[in-house]
Amino acid sequence: MTIVSGKAEARRRLQPATSDVLRKMWEHRADYAYVLPAIAVMLIVIAYPIYYTIELSFFNTPPGLQLRDKIFVGFNNYTAILTSGVFWQVTFNTLIWTAASTFISFVLGFAAALALHRDFIGRGILRAILIIPWVISAVAASYIWKWIYHSDFGIIGAVLVELGWATRPPNFIDSVSTVLPSLIVVNIWREFPFAMIMMTAGLQTVPEQLLRAAKVDGANAWQRFWHVTFPHLRNVSTVTILLLAVANFNSFIIPWIMTGGGPSNASHIWITHIYELAFGRQRWGVASAYSVLLFIILMTLGYFYVRALSGNERKDGSA
């Protein structure tokens, strides 16, 4: 076949394909019209800020200058971040915060869901009580926990001293070694009900007949859980963990209100550090560079989230 006839063949193949796509798009024109406003809003409130943040990350914004007078510095902000000791401290804190909060919230939430999956008197009330931390405002919860933890007149310290178990109140949030674990406890307290709800929903989809069949086959409770229930919950678990991880990576309220990132940066995580850089120190350029890095990380997590959801859909479709 000559080159000319090859091209003609390719055009012939392409034309029906292109017209097919256009025809399908035309058939779904109403659907596109429905989503168009949402896409327009997203372009304004998401796409432009993302573009502007990326642009700003290449500029220096000294406190004596307006933002419009920013100075182009190329990749200097990124270099400054990656060579700064604070970056690594904050990154380490963020990883600990995200991993510990996500893992323990999930495990506790799953355990609570399993416990409450059985039918017993008062189950509904218990479920409602366990959901309370999740529905309470994070701001109010942070202030309450700050008071509970207070190193001088906190309720935990007062009880321990009153019972004679401590000579002085323990130092929860005023010590570099205990502040992050203390905040993680608060975060877990607030988040595990979310995992519980998700896993409860998942448990309700486990086919009862499979469990009965396994029981008839002689499987004990653990074997039924491990070989029937748990595999069935794989996708909902993945989604729950990813959602928790993204939420934890983006956490702001609890650490900011309770400690402001202190003492001595020991509870600064990425978001609080970015906020302080931008609004406290007006380093819009450096804060933007941090945000771009965070965006990349979160988009990666988002990719896995979408993949997990797509996996679910594929499975549902093939079932």
Partner: protein
């Protein structure tokens, strides 16, 4: 209380210290309405109630009382640590303004000290700022240097520059141009609980004379009674921290720059000088070595010290005269035996001058707030109603309202406020007011630089936290802070 010795101490201080010169060194010191060289509690009493002012009449000359317009206005208002009395005066002010200017549609918004800067900066980036704003003293130069503010001097609203503290005028001046008017100026004092002093074996009527004494007294109180001695505050991004640490730093002879001198140049960084390190060491000794201050110092604010003090769990602290009224408010809310305990603390509350450093240097932050008008291009809608803005500024900075809005915790920005009948009433009703007023001559303004908010709200508290948590040694923390200031002044990232 050692009130009888205050006059002498103040007079000696006014003559001998360069701090006074710092406040009086502005060129516009032609004919102030009060004689600053005579400043003493007795002098303040002698001028109080000697002159009447017609606020509406005076402001009517600036903006006619029937003027029709619209004004958006943000201001640093009362917060949880303020007394109820002050809340009432704020309420009264806006009611009076609306009555005086019934045709001005006022849209005001109150924000707390710690929130205002963040919100205002964000609004400016989106050209959504209010037409007028009342900012803490730290903010003026930052926004003036960036070109957000319109030139505004006391003469624009019917007063003269000499009507205001020269030191306060420095804080609203950038590159030789005045960009705002002081609403109030404040200095704090040293507060102690005489009963705690007595039980700890200290003289109940004698406050610590030096900062080294504060360290000793704090330890003695803690060792004898098991409670906190001194109310250290070291939270980051909170105005309370620099207001309490800087007097200590300056008293030891340290500073961020040369801000304690009569004509500061802000060229040399002094945060890691031997004197500055000695001040930081004193805080370290109290927090780490002696454990004689509240453990929560790293995350708390002065509002957290107030209940500790009222509960008899804290021996000494630095604060406003308003803290006495705050204690009365808190005591009213207490129940059962707590009410009596609180009353005992109030009865034993004493005010004195802030201690000196080893060389006899006494210092306090010359704080306060200023009021500004924004340029139209940064305001929502792109327009500024200047007559309306000047009307509210004239009223707030008038002798009457600059006094009333500072009634319990501060001092009037307009020096004529000291001459009003309300000053006389205030001296009689606000206990210990004369002590804090006596501290005014020792007041040192924060460096009038756009970088000051970051230095005072972030770098200085960071230095304290790094030293007090053991993350760094005292030397390392001071050197680290000095380096951060150097980088900041150099325009670094």
């Amino acid at each position: 209380m050692t009130r009888s010795t205050l006059g002498g101490a103040v007079l000696r201080g006014t003559v001998s210290t360069a701090l006074m010169a710092s406040l009086m060194s502005a060129p516009a010191l032609a004919a102030p309405p009060v004689d600053l060289s005579k400043w003493s509690p007795e002098y303040v009493r002698s001028i109080a109630g000697t002159q009447d002012f017609d606020t509406a009449g005076d402001c009517g000359k600036v903006t006619p009382l029937d003027y029709k317009g619209r004004l958006t206005f943000w201001y640093q208002g009362v917060f949880e640590g303020d007394p109820d009395l002050l809340r009432q005066y704020y309420k009264d002010f806006f009611e009076t303004f609306r009555k005086t200017y019934p045709n001005i549609q006022l849209e005001e918004q109150a924000l707390t000290y710690n929130d205002l800067l963040d919100k205002f900066r964000t609004a400016l980036l989106g050209n959504a700022a209010p037409m007028a704003v009342r900012l803490q003293i730290l903010g003026g130069t930052e926004f003036a240097s960036k070109g957000y503010l319109q030139p505004l001097k006391p003469e624009d609203v019917g007063y003269s520059t000499e009507d205001f503290w020269p030191g306060a005028m420095k804080a609203v001046t950038w590159d030789g141009v005045t960009y705002g008017i002081p609403t109030n100026n404040e200095t704090m004092a040293f507060i102690w609980n005489a009963d705690i002093f007595k039980r700890a074996g200290l003289d109940p009527n004698k406050p610590p004379a030096t900062w080294d004494d504060v360290v000793k007294y704090s330890k003695q109180i803690h060792d004898k009674l098991g409670i906190a001695g001194y109310g250290l505050v070291a939270r980051k991004n909170a105005g309370n921290t620099p207001y309490r640490f800087m007097p200590q730093l300056w008293a030891y002879g340290g500073g961020v720059f040369d801000e304690t001198t009569a004509n500061p140049t802000y060229k040399d960084i002094e945060l890691n000088s031997a004197q500055s390190k000695a001040a930081l060491q004193a805080s370290y000794d109290m927090y780490v070595r002696d454990k004689s201050v509240p453990v929560s110092a790293l995350t708390n604010q002065q509002a957290d010290n107030q209940p500790l003090f009222l509960a008899g769990q804290l021996g000494m602290m630095i604060s406003h005269p308003s803290d006495y009224n705050v204690m009365l408010d808190l005591q009213k809310k207490a129940t059962g035996t707590d009410k009596d305990k609180a009353q005992t603390v109030i009865d034993n509350m004493r005010y004195g001058l802030i201690p000196t450093g080893p060389d006899g240097k006494r210092a306090v932050v010359f704080g306060g707030s200023n009021i500004h008008i924004l340029k139209p291009e940064y305001v929502e809608g792109g327009k500024v109603d200047e007559p309306a803005a000047k009307a509210i500024i004239c009223m707030w900075t008038s002798p009457e309202w600059s006094l009333k809005m500072a009634y319990a915790g501060s001092n009037p920005g307009n020096l004529n406020g000291f001459k009003t009948k309300w000053m006389k009433e205030r001296l009689d009703s606000i206990k210990f007011l004369d002590v804090t007023t006596s501290m005014l001559p020792y007041g040192i303004p924060f460096p009038a630089l756009p970088q000051s908010p970051e230095i005072m709200n972030i770098i200085v508290p960071d230095m304290l936290q790094n030293a007090l948590t053991g993350a760094m040694t005292v030397d390392q923390a001071a050197d680290d802070a000095a380096k951060k200031v150097k980088d900041l002044m150099g325009g670094g990232l």
